[in-house]
Amino acid sequence: MNRMLRMHRTFVAGSVVCGALVLTGGAHLASTQGLQTADAVLGAAIHQDDAEGNLDAAIEGYKQFLAQYGDDRPLAVQALLRLGQAYETLGRPEARDAYERVLRDYADQPEPVAAVRARLAALEVEPTSPSAALHTELLWPEARGVNPGDVSPDGNLATYTDWEDLGNLAIRDFATGESRRLTSTADGGSGENGGNFATWSRISPDGEQVLYTWNRSSPVGETGELRLVPVHGNRTEPRTVWSPADGSSAAVQDWFPSGDRVVAVVNASDHSSIVTVSTVDGQVRQVRSIDWARNPQVRVSPDGRFLAYSRSASREVPEKDIFLVAVDGSSETLIVQHAANDELVAWSLDGQQLLFNSDRSGQPGLWAQRVQDAEPAGEPQLLVANLDVGTGVGLTRDGTLHYPVNVSRRRMKVAELDMKTGRLLRQPVAVTDRFVGGNTEGVFSPDGETLAFVSVRPGGTQRTIVLRSLKTGRERDLPHEFQQVYDFRWRPDGDRLTVRGRDVGPGPYSPLDVNVATGEARRLTDMTGRSLAQPTFTPDGTQILHRNRDTNPERDLIYSYRVADGFVHALPGVFPGERFSLSPDGQWIAQTVRGFEVAELTPASLNATTEIRLHPTMGADVDVLWTTDDREPFGRWTTWTPDGTALLVLKKEPQAGDYMWRLWVVPVDGTDPVATELVYEPSDGGSTPVQVHPDGMRIVYSEGGEFTQFWAVHNLALDESAAPSSP
C-alpha cells in the first residue's frame, strides 16, 4: 500500500476507529459463537481490510454487509466509507460511487459526509486515479544474492544475476512472484581462471530479449562477452553478439531505441571505453575513453543520438558529474556539474530531461536536469527528496522508476569461547551501536585493549578505521579515509596497522602502514603491485609475506618480501591462490585448499577433497589437518589461536533447507576438530576472518548477510513546476 493512500485511509478511518475496534472484537466473538450479526459481518470485513490487507475480500465483506444490514444506518455509512477507501486504494473508479452514495443517502450524518467530501475533493485533484500521486512500491521485499539488471518496459519483469544459482541470469515476474532461469551454465565463478557467470543485463525496447554480459574463463582470466537470450524462451541457447579478446570484458549498459545496437563499457586495467555494438553483426564503435573512470553508467537518449554518462571530471576528483557525448563522437557536453556526487539514473521518456541521483542537498535525492539541443537548460530540479535510488534499475514506459535498495543485517559481534570444548562462555554481543551495518574487519590489538575495525559510513564510499577501547567503549576515528581497506592486521608493537588498501583516489592497492596515533598511511614497500594481497609481517618484522594475486595461476603464489633490501622470493611448495595465515611463531602457514583447485595442478588428484593444510614456511612436507569430501565446506580463511595450538575455521552445515556456518577449532597436533557452539551467517560472504583476542577466549566476527529489495517509484512529476515530494 502506498504512502499517500495509507495517509488517506488513516484520515478517513479516524472517524470510525473506535467502532472498528469494537466491531473487530465483535467479529471474533461472533465467529466463535457461530453467529452472523451485523457487527460480525462488518467486523470480518474490517479484519480483512486492516489486519489481512486483503482488499478484495474486504470489499466483498462491505458489500455483503450493505446488502444484509443496509438499514443499520450508523454502521452502513461506515461500511460505505470503508468500501470507498478500499476501492480508492486499488485505484478503482467505484470509490467515487461509494462516496457519492454517502452524500446521497446519508446526508444527515455530518461527520461521514465531511470525510467523504474531502475524499471526493482529493479525487478531483487526482482525476485519473489515486495512484496518480507520487508513491513508492516495494515489489520484491527480500532478494538474496542478486545483482539487479533491468526492468521490462511494462514493469512486470526484472532481470538479475542470481548468485544463489551460481551466477546464472534470471528473471522475476513481479505479478506472480516467481523467478526463472534464463541461463543454466554458470558455475559460480569457481572454475578455472574465473569461471562462468552473468553480470550486467538489459531488456530490449520491445521487451523480447535480454542482452547480458557473460563472463567466461579464458587462459588469461575472465572474459566478458555480450550475449542475447529471449525473455520468454525456454531452453533457447543464448546467442553471442560480440566476444572480445580474452581477458577483456564488456559491461552491457543500454539498448538503442532501434533495438539493433547497444552500448557497453569495456573496462580495461587502465581505462574504460564506451562502445556501441551492433546486435546484428557485432560491429563495434569506440566512442569515448576515460582514463580514470571505472564503469561509468551510460544511457542512450530516446532519439538514439546521444549517450549520457556519469564520471568524475578528472582523476583527482571522486565526485561524479554527468556528460553527454554524441553517438558519432562529434561533441561532448557537461550537463550536470556540482561539487556533490551526481549519478546518472535515466533519461525521461520524452528525452527532455536526465534523471540523476545526487547528495547536493545533504541527503540523497532524485533530481532532473532539463536538456535542450544537447545543452543543459535551466537549473536541476529536485523530484523526490530523501530517496536514494543509486543508479536505478530502469524506467518503464509509463514513467515508473525501478531501483534497488541494499539492506544489510551485518553486525560485528564479540563472543567468548572455550577453545578446548567449543562451549560459548559468553553469548555474542554487538560491538558498537555506531553506524550499525557498516562495520567489519574487527581485530584486537596485541595488548588486548583495543579493537580496530573498518567502518563504511552511510552514503559514503570511503572507509574509516575506528579504534575502540575495550575498557571504556570509547571510539576514535582515525583522521584518514581510505578508498578500500583489506587484510587488516596489527603490527606487533601495537602502534601501527598493516593493511592492504588504497588511499582515496586512483592508484594501486598496496600494503600500507597506518599509524594508529595519527592515521597517517604510507606505503610499506616500493613494490607497486596492485596484486599484493594479505601483507603479513613475520614476528621478527624482517619480512612481509604476501600473496601475489595474478591472473596467471603459476605466479599467484605466496611470496616473502625482505624489508631490508626488497628481496622477493616465493615460498616453496605453498599452495598458490589461497588465503593464508601465518602462525604466531612464524613457522607455519595454514590454508584451506579446495580439491578442484588441487586438481588443476595435479590431475591425479582430480577427486581430491577440500583440505586444511599446514605448511612450514621454510619448506617441508605438508600436513593435512582436516579433509572433507565436500566441494566448498570451509570458509576461505583460517585463524590461529594466540598460543599457536589450533586454528579456527568456519564449516558449512545444513540448517532448515539452507545452510549456516559453524565455527570449529582445529588443533594442529592432529587431534579431532572441535565443533563450537557458535553458528552464524557470516557477512561479506565469509571473507572476513574471525579474530581472536590475546586472552585466547574472546573472538570478534561479523555476522549477518545482505539482501536486496526491488522498489519502484511511481508518478514522478517530470515537470519543472512540480514541487519536490518525499516518498
Binding site: 545483482n147 572474459t223 572480445p244 570484458s249 581505462h271 571505453s273 563495434v284 563522437g329 626488497g566 560472504g685
Partner: protein, 357 residues
C-alpha cells in the same frame, strides 16, 4: 559467492579490448603485409567548405575527438592548416616549416636528440611526436600550454625554433598567394594570428595514429601480436607497471612524472617546476604517447636514450634516483627475456598514421 557478486557488481576485472569484426577484417587485410610500413594517408580531396571533416578514426581511437567550439574540424580549415604546416615563410630565414621538425616519415618527429631551429640553433629538448594530440590535455614537455590553438603558435615565435613574431607571420601570409583568399574563404576575414592558430590546430588535430597490431590484438585478433609481444603486453600491464603512466587509447595519462632523466643532464632542465613553481614538480615531464614509439627515437624529453632496449633498461633499474623521483618507479628486476618481450610489444604500437580527417 558474495565476494564474486560484489566483484561482479563493480564490474569485472580486466584488461582492455574490443572486437571490431568487420573493421578488423579490413584492417587485417590492408595491413597484412605492411603492419610496420611508414605510411601517411590523407583523406582526398579536402575540399573547402563548412561541412565537418569525416568522422573517421583509426582502430583504437575514440570517435569523440575534443575540439573547441570556435574551431570545428572542418575540411576548409584543415586544408588551410595543412598548407600552413608545410609553409617555410613562417620561419625567420624561410628555411623551416613545422613539417621540417615534425616529419611524417618519422611519425612527426625529426629523429634528432634536440630540436634544431633557424640558423642551426639548438633547442634544449627533443621534438615530440604530435600524433593524437587532439586528445592532449596540455602541451609541450612541461605542459605549459593548455590548448592546441595556443600551442601551435609557440614554435613560430620561439627564438630557438622559427623566430618570427605573429605580426611578421601574418604580414608575410598577407603578401603571399593563396593565403589572403584562403583565409577569407575559410574564416571570412583577412589573415590574422588567431585564424592562423585555428587552421594549424585544426590540421594537427587530424594527425592520428592507430590501427597498430596492438589495437588489432586488443580488439579481438589474437594473431595480431607475436607471442613475444603478448608477453610484453602482459608485463606492460602487470609487473613492469608501465600502465601507471601509459594508459588509455593514447597510452599516456597526460600527467607529469619524474623518472630521473633530468638528473645530471646537461643542460640542467627542471621541467614542470618551471611552470608551476611547486618544488615537488622538479624534474617532471609529461608522459608521452607510446604510439609510433619505434619510429620516434631518440627517446625522453632530451633525446638522451637512443634505443628502445636502452629505454627498457632505464626503467628496469627504476629510472634515475633523485630527490623527487616518482614513487611508481622501482627496480623491476626484468630478465633479458622480459626485456625482449617488452620491446617487442612497444614495436607493436607502430600503426597507421593519418592526417587530414
Amino acid at each position: 559467492m558474495w565476494t564474486r557478486m560484489r566483484r561482479a557488481s563493480m564490474v569485472v576485472s580486466l584488461q582492455t579490448a574490443m572486437l571490431l569484426v568487420l573493421v578488423l577484417v579490413l584492417v587485417a587485410m590492408s595491413m597484412s603485409c605492411a603492419s610496420r610500413t611508414v605510411s601517411v594517408t590523407r583523406s582526398e580531396p579536402l575540399e573547402p567548405g563548412s561541412a565537418r571533416a569525416e568522422s573517421s578514426r583509426p582502430l583504437g581511437l575514440d570517435l569523440y575527438r575534443p575540439e573547441p567550439a570556435d574551431n570545428p574540424t572542418v575540411p576548409a580549415t584543415v586544408t588551410l592548416g595543412r598548407r600552413l604546416f608545410h609553409e617555410r615563410l613562417l620561419s625567420r630565414d624561410r628555411s623551416l616549416a613545422c613539417v621540417d621538425c615534425h616529419r611524417p616519415d618519422r611519425a612527426f618527429t625529426d629523429g634528432r636528440a634536440k630540436a634544431v631551429g633557424v640558423y642551426g640553433r639548438r633547442g634544449p629538448r627533443s621534438v615530440p611526436t604530435i600524433v593524437n594530440r587532439a586528445w592532449g590535455e596540455s602541451f609541450f614537455w612541461d605542459g605549459r600550454i593548455a590548448t592546441l590553438e595556443a600551442q601551435v603558435l609557440q614554435p613560430i615565435v620561439a627564438q630557438l625554433e622559427m623566430d618570427l613574431t605573429i605580426d611578421e607571420a601574418v604580414e608575410r601570409l598577407r603578401e603571399t598567394s593563396p593565403y589572403p583568399a584562403a583565409f577569407r574563404e575559410t574564416f571570412g576575414r583577412a589573415v590574422n594570428g588567431d585564424d592562423l592558430a585555428r587552421a594549424l590546430a585544426a590540421y594537427v588535430r587530424t594527425i592520428q595514429s592507430g590501427g597498430s597490431p596492438y589495437d588489432r590484438y586488443v580488439w579481438g585478433e589474437p594473431a595480431a601480436l607475436s607471442k613475444d609481444a603478448q608477453a610484453g603486453l602482459e608485463l606492460f600491464r602487470g609487473r613492469a607497471n608501465c600502465t601507471a603512466c601509459h594508459v588509455g587509447p593514447n597510452l599516456t595519462d597526460e600527467e607529469f612524472h619524474n623518472t630521473g632523466v633530468f638528473w645530471g643532464g646537461q643542460p640542467y632542465d627542471a621541467g614542470r617546476v618551471l611552470v608551476t613553481n611547486v618544488p615537488e614538480d622538479t624534474g617532471k615531464f609529461k608522459t608521452p604517447t607510446l604510439r609510433e614509439i619505434e619510429r620516434t627515437a631518440p627517446y625522453m624529453h632530451d633525446g638522451s636514450i637512443a634505443t628502445l632496449d636502452e629505454v627498457v633498461d632505464f626503467y628496469d633499474r627504476g629510472g634515475n634516483e633523485n630527490p623527487f623521483r616518482d614513487r611508481d618507479l622501482r627496480p623491476l628486476r626484468l630478465t633479458q627475456e622480459d626485456k625482449t618481450a617488452l620491446v617487442a610489444f612497444l614495436r607493436s604500437l607502430t600503426g597507421t598514421v593519418t592526417d587530414g580527417r
